[in-house]
Amino acid sequence: MDSKRAVHIYHRNLAIAVGLILLVFALIPMAVKSPYLLNIFVLVFYMSTLSMAWNLLGGMTGQNSLGHAAYMGLGAYACCLLVVKTGANPWLAGIFGMVVVGLVAGIVFYPCFILRGPYFTLVSIAFGESIRQVIINSAFFGRASGVGLPFGSDSWVHFRFTSKVPYYYVGLLMMIGVYLVMKKIDRSKMGFALKTIREDEDAAAAIGINPTRYKIMAVVISAMVAGLVGFFYASYIRYIDPELMIQAKSTESVLPAIVGGAAYVEGPIIGGLIMIPLSEYLRANFSAILPGINMLMYAVALLVVIRFRPAGILGWYMNSRTKAFVDEKILRKPPLGVLEEVEMMGYRKGEA
């Protein structure tokens, strides 16, 4: 019974740690009143979510897309146009936007799955640029001048507020929700199938995984999450234009995942929490004298991480002594053997 108790204590400590982190994030808007700082947090939430969407396709499946800004923009456009043209409820329009993006991505990429490695990246760029060109050239999408959402009094029904606090909480919930979905996928049969495809597609096909089917699922889910971010962005900024979908934005959406560690579901969140406040600080303080300094810092961070810590910040932490110390002393993690023993007990009880 001793090992069972140790595992119980470990799980309790883990729950307390996660609870404390959540509590801190929940309490930040009470302590921080500056709209500027809150804006940075909202930015972290939606950029990390977009990066998680990329990570499902890039980090987990090995299909490096460079067109996620286009999916996000498409979701934002679908939702904004539905609201502006028919007066629909924005929440429903958000769901509509996600469905549209998922459908478009699924249909367009179905013939493209024959492409591997760099060719997939090229098509994702060409596809993203094509969407942007269609929007710029079409009067229905408002051409280059963009679309604005109607303003009005604060309301949850119409998802519009003058204060940034509600957006903070919705953004936080969105990030946590998407994280839980990604974690679930990561541990499911689908997650293992995707990782097998990443390592060797032919071998995956040989052991009975249908690569096309799983890649389509990954693309559709990834694009739908990007569409969700688009809906959140449109509701927050209340104005969208085709500049949202330029190539540089797609690249920007990948950086948190690479810097944080693309092999981990948590990577994009860690990367976003570190990189985005830094970038915003540089933008606010130096962009008047040195324009482009924040993106320059992004580029340097990216190169340094890839050159010296190819597994990202989280990959570095996972193999570091700090983690060993935290596990042993603070969380009181029992040895792996004990954990497995207790897990097996659970199974035996189930059999009996």
């Binding site: 890039g58 980090g59 090995g62 490096n64 460079l66 013939p111 493209c112 024959i114 492409l115 490695g117 760099p118 060719y119 990246t121 090229l122 098509v123 760029i125 060409a126 596809f127 640029e129 094509s130 060109q133 269609v134 710029i136 050239n137 190539q247 690249t251 990948v254 690479i258 693309a262 040195l290 324009p291 482009g292 300094i293 993106m295 320059l296 992004y298 580029a299 340097v300 990216l302 190169l303 890839i306 050159r307 190819p310």
Partner: protein, 287 residues
């Protein structure tokens, strides 16, 4: 009719640049199997180098071409040696891809920090000279640039075909392990290849300066078009890259003439997707 001929000539002259960019990308992609996503930014660096040489040292843009090419070759070699070769060992395609993306970000934002976002241009004594050839008008710098492009293409073709180093580059692109077995220093070839590819991009940049504005993101559209040239022209083929570049230039001007200038980008991207998918499907079927 005269408009059609004029569009043909313009497409041809622009296509030459896409060919040159595509050839650089082609040898890098062919030898190392990595896509160089900072190829367009290298063109931009070549433009700024020419600009500096012209403005501060008074060197004519065409005389600056060899200087720019050599400088860019050195830059490319250093990047390959310090950044790309060490990362080739990790076998992580994602990391390699974002290494060149990061380099592109570094260069374009570095240029933004150093030179600001102003549009700059080089105007020499003969910039505004035009040549009338039947119904077609051509700017003299464009014509000279095209001539230089042709010379560079033939020189590159001969270099890869007949010199020892050229043969070694082709050997590595076909089979790196086999090349290493017969005693070729593969790492040296990687350095040479990347330097050569970057030098070609820089040359294209130097040749562009007289009729194109110079700004930090000037290379972006050329960078992606270089990739289109590689895919359409076929991997490892210099004549193929040349033809594909000309085709791309003509496609752009023709769609601008017959459909609408604002749709020409869309048509280029759509054609690219269709060609890529059809081609890869055919290759997969053949296997």
């Amino acid at each position: 009719m005269s408009m059609f001929l004029q569009a043909c000539v313009n497409g041809l002259l622009m296509g030459g640049f896409y060919s040159l960019m595509g050839m650089g990308q082609n040898i890098i992609f062919g030898v190392m199997k990595i896509v160089n996503f900072c190829h367009g930014e290298m063109l931009m660096v070549g433009m700024y180098l020419t600009f500096i040489l012209y403005t501060y040292l008074g060197i004519d843009p065409y005389l600056a071409v060899p200087i720019v090419a050599v400088t860019m070759f050195c830059l490319g070699s250093v990047i390959q040696h310090t950044l790309i070769t060490p990362s080739l060992g990790t076998k992580s395609f994602t990391n390699l891809l974002f290494l060149t993306v990061g380099l592109g970000l570094l260069l374009s934002n570095g240029a933004l920090v150093i030179f600001g976002s102003e549009y700059r241009s080089i105007r020499t004594a003969y910039s505004q000279t035009y040549i009338q050839l039947g119904p077609v008008t051509m700017a003299l710098p464009r014509l000279i640039s095209f001539g230089v492009l042709i010379v560079v293409t033939i020189a590159l073709f001969a270099f890869l075909k007949y010199t020892t180093i050229g043969k070694q580059i082709r050997a590595v692109s076909q089979n790196p392990v086999g090349a290493e077995v017969v005693g070729i220093d593969v790492k040296k070839i990687y350095i040479l290849t990347y330097g050569l590819g970057i030098a070609l991009a820089g040359t294209a940049g130097a040749l562009l300066t007289q009729f194109y504005t110079i700004f930090p993101t000037a290379g972006a559209s050329f960078g992606f078009r270089a990739l289109i040239v590689v895919v359409v022209g076929g991997l490892g083929s210099i004549p193929g890259a040349f033809m594909a570049g000309i085709f791309l230039g003509l496609l752009e001007t023709m769609s601008a003439l017959f459909i609408s200038p604002s749709y020409s980008d869309l048509i280029v991207f759509m054609t690219f997707i269709v060609i890529l998918v059809v081609r890869q499907t055919m290759i997969a079927r053949r296997k």
